[in-house]
């Protein structure tokens, strides 16, 4: 995409308070919790889910963050990058809801690429390489500026559970490792890989949630909390994930390797920054990535030392890891015919020689990892600084959650992130926004629920998939998971979600709203200009070549017909840039659409026919969603004499929230659905009648 920066007056840079070279262990967050203080919401954990939960909850209610190490808040535990295909959509949506991740990613960005650039707008994925220190500092600075937000360094040993007037379990607060009881109306648990975490390297297994990046120490797991969840009869399972070794970049022979540079016009994530026409702050220091590959020798080593790989708890010793982010061993095992797998070498920041070899996770013993790395091209001398390792941890099957991410069994208890069985920073952060917002609303006594629909965003797709289908392997976002992909794009996240955020009180930044309104106007103006600009088909093909005349140029009669720029742009191969060049040549005063709205205008026109159809699909989806099933229905023979036994079991297990959910359960027949629907409807009427007679 060739993009010009909008010449808008540069506002103050004061929103970017970062020091140019932060210390690697920032001391931005201070412990502010005073014993005896109670809160609206307590968030356990300071990872990506935790940070977003803190941010959205603290805009609504007093919020406390409890985490083992304040200096680790916002740490990128694995890959030094944010975004990607599908994941980039999530980051944009988080930002549209005034979350932390998009802003921090722009501040920490040291290399940016728009993935799928040559494919259609809807499937493009913004992806930024992060400087780990800059990213973490940015997250911490953003959180440190929040009012209503306290911090406590410590571990949570237990939840305080009580019963409400209906005899239902509700959470009342937490007990810390010092024995302090802290009360709260809502608790958000974002324990990541720490819940019952076991680290593995080779055949060694040791208790821990994560290795510290800059020391040999291991952060301890939350085993007590794991016990709490098992005690509460949650459906707890084990998942695993892994991280590759970190390399000394000074020992890589870059001259032999293919470079992968950054986009020349990096776009970033933060809507407000884009609106202000500001470039990414570190652009002049952007780094270069390199590409190498495994070879037959690498694969031979992987198979030769397979017996030294860890044994896991899950999947009968194999461990249940992310299928879409397999270890190098899994790749070799699954694709024996391949003679090489790509490996991107990603520097971990601007002022560091540490390099992350993407795709090379594999928890062999350190000396074997060293052999494997040295077998690769350009890396015969490469040193491993920190070996890679795997972690296996507890997750709670999200089938037991509502769309608010509140657990169905314990009122006020919310889960977000890897504890719900997802993988990836972005997936975790997206859940953090939802859980934090709902926790905040609940403690405020606001009865509304903040639920993003499948028709509104990938956040909605993610949450809906989790709570209706459950998880058997780590869940990662893809664009193909959304049935409304052409409508839910990275370029229009603000148009889809910011207003909703305002409505629920989690977006309070006036500048963000102003940016939204301006963009709306600009997109409208841009589309209108394309509708008004008309040329004869013959002129279109004269100026733009055959591809603009389309099939019409072939016929003499048709070429005397006028076509609008809007119509021409709807042809699949024509780009908005092509059209604007012609419009400029016809009219000196014509101003092309700004970078900020370019993609939205292009997509609005290009997809117009499809968007119309998707809107109809969405309508039908919304209607089905409207058929709510009260959560307290008892699925037994008395209520449902006609349902099959297996259907009753399924309904008991999944407890669907809507008829739509019930329909997505495999094994529920159409007849079963109709009976369920009728039962719900009759019950509603009976209740209405009773209420009416009481009045």
């Amino acid at each position: 995409m060739s993009i010009l920066l909008r010449s808008i007056p540069v506002r103050s840079l004061s929103t970017f308070p970062l020091p140019p070279k932060p210390p690697s262990n920032p001391n931005i967050l201070k412990q502010t919790h005073e014993q005896g203080t109670s809160y609206g919401t307590i968030v356990i954990g300071g990872g990506h889910a935790g940070c977003e939960a803190l941010s959205s909850s603290s805009t609504l209610t007093s919020t406390l963050c409890i985490t083992q190490k304040l200096s680790q808040v916002g740490e990128l535990s694995c890959n030094p990058s944010i975004g990607g295909i599908g994941k980039g959509h999530l980051v944009r949506e988080i930002d549209a809801l005034d979350g932390v991740m998009g802003k921090a990613a722009d501040l920490g960005c040291c290399h940016f690429r728009m993935l799928n650039e040559r494919k259609g707008t809807a499937v493009r994925g913004p992806r930024g390489q992060m400087d780990r220190d800059l990213y973490k500092s940015a997250v911490q600075s953003i959180l440190s500026e929040k009012c209503n937000l306290d911090f406590l360094e410590g571990a949570v040993e237990d939840l305080i559970i009580d019963f409400d007037v209906n005899g239902e379990k509700v959470v009342k607060g937490v007990v810390t490792n010092t024995g302090e009881q802290i009360l709260a109306d809502a608790v958000v648990v974002t324990t990541g890989t720490f819940l019952g975490g076991t680290l593995m390297c080779g055949l060694e297994r040791y208790s821990g949630g994560r290795h510290l990046r800059d020391s040999e120490a291991v952060e301890p797991p939350s085993n007590a909390l794991s016990k709490t969840f098992r005690g509460l009869n949650f459906d707890v399972g084990r998942l695993k994930t892994g991280t590759p070794p970190r390399l000394n970049g000074d020992t890589i022979d870059y001259d032999l390797l293919e470079k992968q540079g950054s986009d020349s016009e990096p776009i970033g994530f933060d809507h407000v920054r884009q609106f202000n026409g500001l470039r990414l702050p570190n652009e002049k220091d952007f780094i270069t990535c390199y590409k190498t590959a495994t070879n037959e020798e690498t694969h031979r080593l992987c198979l030769e030392y397979e017996h030294l790989l860890p044994r896991y708890d899950g999947a009968e010793g194999d461990g249940m890891g992310p299928r879409y982010c397999p270890s190098i061993y899994k790749k070799v095992q699954r694709f024996p015919e391949r003679t090489g797998h790509n490996c991107f070498l990603e520097p971990e920041g601007i002022n560091t020689n540490i390099v992350y070899p993407n795709g090379m996770s594999g928890p062999y013993p350190p000396e074997i990892q060293q052999k494997i790395i040295n077998s690769m091209y350009g890396m015969s001398e490469t040193e491993i600084i920190v070996p890679g390792y795997d972690v296996e941890y507890d997750f709670i099957n999200p089938i037991g959650l509502k769309h608010t991410l509140e657990t169905k069994d314990v009122g006020g208890l919310y889960l977000a992130g890897q504890i719900c069985g997802t993988t990836g920073y972005e997936e975790a952060a997206a859940q953090g926004v939802v859980a934090g917002a709902n926790a905040g609303l609940k403690s405020k006594g606001d009865e509304r629920e903040f639920i993003v629909g499948r028709d509104e965003g990938y956040i909605g797709v993610l949450v809906d998939d989790l709570v209706t289908k459950g998880v058997t392997e780590p869940y990662r976002m893809f664009t193909s998971r959304s049935e409304y992909r052409l409508s839910l794009r990275a370029d229009n996240a603000d148009l889809r979600l910011t207003r909703k955020g305002v409505e629920y009180g989690i977006v309070t930044d006036d500048e963000r709203v102003e940016a939204l309104e301006e963009r709306k106007r600009e997109v409208e103006r841009g589309v209108e200009a394309l509708e008004k600009f008309r040329l004869f088909v013959s002129e279109w093909s004269e100026k733009g070549g055959d591809k603009m005349g389309g099939t019409f140029s072939s016929s003499k009669k048709k070429s005397s017909v006028k076509k609008s720029a809007h119509e021409v742009l709807r042809m699949p191969h024509v780009t908005l840039g092509d059209i604007e060049n012609i419009m400029k040549s016809e009219d000196d005063k014509f101003q092309s659409v700004s970078l900020n709205s370019h993609d939205t205008v292009e997509a609005t026109v290009k997809y117009s026919a499809y968007l119309h159809r998707q809107e109809k699909d969405m309508d039908s989806w919304r209607k089905a969603q409207g058929l709510l099933i009260p959560p307290d229905i008892v699925y037994d023979r008395t209520n449902f004499p006609t349902l099959k036994e297996e259907e009753l079991q399924l309904l008991k297990k999944f407890r669907p929230g809507t008829l739509g959910d019930a329909n997505s359960i495999q094994g529920i027949t159409p007849q079963g659905l109709v009976y369920l629907q009728q039962f719900v409807r009759k019950r509603g009427r009976k209740r209405d009648r009773n209420r009416a007679s009481q009045i």
Binding site: G84, I85, G86, L115, N116, R118, K119, G120, T121, A122, V123, G125, K291, Y324, H341, N342, G359, F478, T479, S480, E483, R485, L486, P572, H573, Y607, Y610, R613, D619, S620, W621, K623, A624, G626, L627, L628, T642, L659, G660, A662, N663, P670, Q671, L673, V674, Y675, Q677, Q678, R681, K682, G684, R685, R687, D688, R689, R691, A692, I695
Partner: protein, 515 residues
Amino acid sequence: MLLCAAPAGCYSVVGRSLQSGRMGLVGSRLLRLYSSPPGLDDDSFGEDTIYALSTSSPPSALAIVRLSGPDSIPTLQKLTSPSFKVPPPRKMFLAKLFHPKSKVPLDEGMAVIFKGPKSFTGEDVVELHIHGSRGVVDGVIEAVSDSGLRAAERGEFTSRAFQNDKLSLLEVESLHSLLTSQTSTQRVLALSTSSKVVAIYDSWRDVLIKAMSHTEAIIDFSSDSDNTDLQEPELIYGGVLDSVKNLRKTMERHLEDGYKGELITNGVKVCLTGLPNAGKSSIINILAERDVSIVSSTPGTTRDVVTVQLDLGGVLCLVSDTAGLREGDDVDEVETEGVKRALRVREEADVVVEVVGLDGIEEGGDGEEGDDIDLKVFNKADLRDTEGNFDGGISISCVSGEGVDELISKLTKVVKDRVGNVGAGAGAGTEARAGENASEGSEDVIITKRRHREHVETAWEALCRFEVLALEGEAAVDLASEELRVASVEIGRIVGRVDVEDVLDSLFNDFCVGK
């Protein structure tokens, strides 16, 4: 429970109601159920009023047009004169019907009203009992429609009854089976729909899902790992292009099956045509084994269209006797209208049988020419001293009964040829490999309902667009895979791999309108 006299009656209306938007009605009503405030009259959630012809398609002796919904009684008032007093419920009254705007008189019939909830649907219902000629029925239906009422969706009366607790689901289901399976071929079709055809549609869907997994991988993974340049369609789509193209062709073949499946479900329309006094009415009486049409030696006796239902070799047929075709000064206005109708019926017919009276052959020549004629019958063989067959036709005598068996067997053959080889052969096996080139002729009829045809057509269109978009290479991979998604959703809707609204809709879609 009111059931229509003959299920055949709904067929002509089905098409119309389908075109007027199939989806969403049941769903939107369900939605209202949940948002209706307490205290509101529970039984009045259908805010619009619907109508349908509840008896078999004209002509018939009598016809009943049924209205249901809050506006049904006001509409009755509109259709009658201002002096007409709306009768008390459940009492039949004489009602002179007029068009509400033009005030043209339509018919002198009877009307009865049922006040909700004591009615079939639970809503206010009006039944107009009118004369069953096509003109009257069309006129009344037009007038009802012009009064602002909406044609009922298929099964909507039943659906409303169900919504209003007037029917349990079991009753709905038994009503359904009561209304289906008239002839042996229909039963075969119904049986094959349950397993074989579903397997075929599922195999189509598998092809689409495989193709989608390929394009989705290009979208979601190609940038991640192997950054190969994907400019050429072949590189992007690989074998997907071929398998989709083959599936598209398979769909085409099924779409071009001459509507065989629908013919079986709806009945094959057979039209008797010919010059006046050729003996068409005598033939229909013989076929029906009863006097359904007035027979006289006067040319031009038959004015209106008379239709009978026959089971020919297990295939449901609707045989129509029509007015003889002639024009001239001695043809009066009524007969001219009859000729017009005869031509219309002939046009809509699936099988046209020309009847030539052998007594008139000297004057009339060889009868009427037309390339739509499927079977030629030389009638009144008793009046002529000629032996054998005439020019590939059958010579019969309605008086002596000579040739009648041959007529029936020939007509049966024509009709059977028309609906093809339903349920026979090992089609499913061939179809399971939809990606390959299934040979023509060995395929079963699988499109048995109009709804299925519409879904297959939409899917087919999407695949056509896919093939065009695929040529654009990488740049249009987003749109191309959207087309695959549309196609797979459409096929999924046929077999019920669908969302909840469609499930409920499809349940009621299997009913005739007006039941």
